[in-house]
């Protein structure tokens, strides 16, 4: 599967942090998306990065844009982690690793958890990939400013009345 800018990101079908089955296109709901694949709650790097995403939600909540996080944590674990973060966006649980191999995002160096390789995508509302971030090394992750710039570029492209 090709996960490069311009390609269509697959319409993931996974349970959310409450156990309710969701589709990525439904979560996008016509808005740009910051999609983050995360190792899991136990990883200090993920804890740090998700605190940063949670801080950024105060901008997303007024800007018609979405944040979605995918990890291999079970929904009840995600719900607790999400509550601890104070996050108001959706977590998707791939505890069964149903998408992990198809997306070719296995972090091979962690044979204990078999988690996702930290990778972030910014997506247009139709799930076309705008930009990809390889976050295996922490500095490869999108900064808040990267996400602002991506959301600005996508919004400019898809909102007819966005005047540059």
């Amino acid at each position: 599967m090709t996960l490069e800018p311009g390609a269509a990101f697959p319409d993931l079908d996974l349970p959310d942090h409450t156990g309710r089955q969701r589709r990525l296109s439904e979560l996008a709901a016509g808005d740009p998306v910051a999609l983050a694949f995360s190792r899991g709650w136990w990883c200090p790097k993920e804890q740090r990065h998700l605190r940063e995403l949670t801080a950024l939600q105060d901008e997303f909540e007024v800007a018609y844009a979405r944040i979605v996080v995918v990890s291999i944590d079970a929904p009840e674990v995600q719900a607790a982690f999400r509550a601890g973060l104070g996050a108001r966006f959706t977590f998707l649980s791939d505890a069964d690793r149903s998408w992990l191999a198809r997306l070719d995002l296995l972090e091979a160096s962690d044979t204990l958890h078999e988690p996702y390789r930290p990778t972030a995508f910014t997506l247009r509302p139709d799930l076309t990939i705008h930009r990809v971030y390889d976050g295996y090394w922490y500095w490869g992750r999108p900064t808040p400013e990267d996400l602002r710039q991506d959301m600005r570029a996508i919004s400019r492209a898809v909102r007819e009345d966005f005047r540059s």
Binding site: H17, T18, G19, R20, R22, E26, L27, A28, A29, G30, D31, Q57, F60, E61, V62, A63, Y64, A65, R66, I67, V68, A79, R82, A83, G86, A87, R88, F89, T90, P125, R159
Partner: protein, 154 residues
């Protein structure tokens, strides 16, 4: 004559009952998706609204913003599988008149964050259908449609 957003569904609340479309009582617009599927019979509808026409706040008031944040942060997760749908009650493009949370089973309504703004009345209802909860974190409304309804999708 109120200026309800186009495309919204409408309800009337008389303090003791809800009426779809026109009916006695105060008129609100809601997230239309709440009425567009197979209805959940004998559901519990917690109507946090008043019939007094003066009971209104702007959606942009901090307390009305915060109650939507609380709904996504913990109220909806707390309800889990019991949730049928949730909608705010819009009076027009700018003003908030309350909210309704609908569940399949009784819950502890003392936790309902919307009741912080206008007190709740618990009713049984046969009109609401299941709607996927808002994905978050958006609390803004789409062209004046009652939150969490609407979108900019084509």
């Amino acid at each position: 004559m109120s200026a309800l957003p186009r495309g919204a569904a409408h309800l009337a609340f008389d303090g003791g009952a809800l009426h779809v479309g026109t009916g006695p009582g105060r008129r609100f617009s809601i997230d239309a998706r709440c009425l567009q599927g197979p209805p959940v019979r004998a559901a519990y509808a917690h109507v946090c609204a008043l019939v007094d026409t003066g009971a209104a706040l702007e959606f942009d008031q901090p307390e009305v913003q915060q109650v939507r944040r609380d709904a996504m942060a913990w109220w909806i997760p707390l309800l889990g599988d019991a949730l049928v749908c949730v909608t705010t009650l819009a009076l027009d493009e700018a003003r908030y008149g309350g909210a309704i949370t609908v569940t399949r089973e009784p819950v502890d309504w003392r936790d309902d964050p919307f009741a912080r703004i206008f007190p709740g009345t618990l009713l049984r209802s046969d009109v609401f259908c299941e709607v996927a909860p808002p994905a978050g974190p958006v609390i803004e409304r789409y062209a004046g449609v009652a939150w969490p309804g609407g979108s900019f999708a084509a």
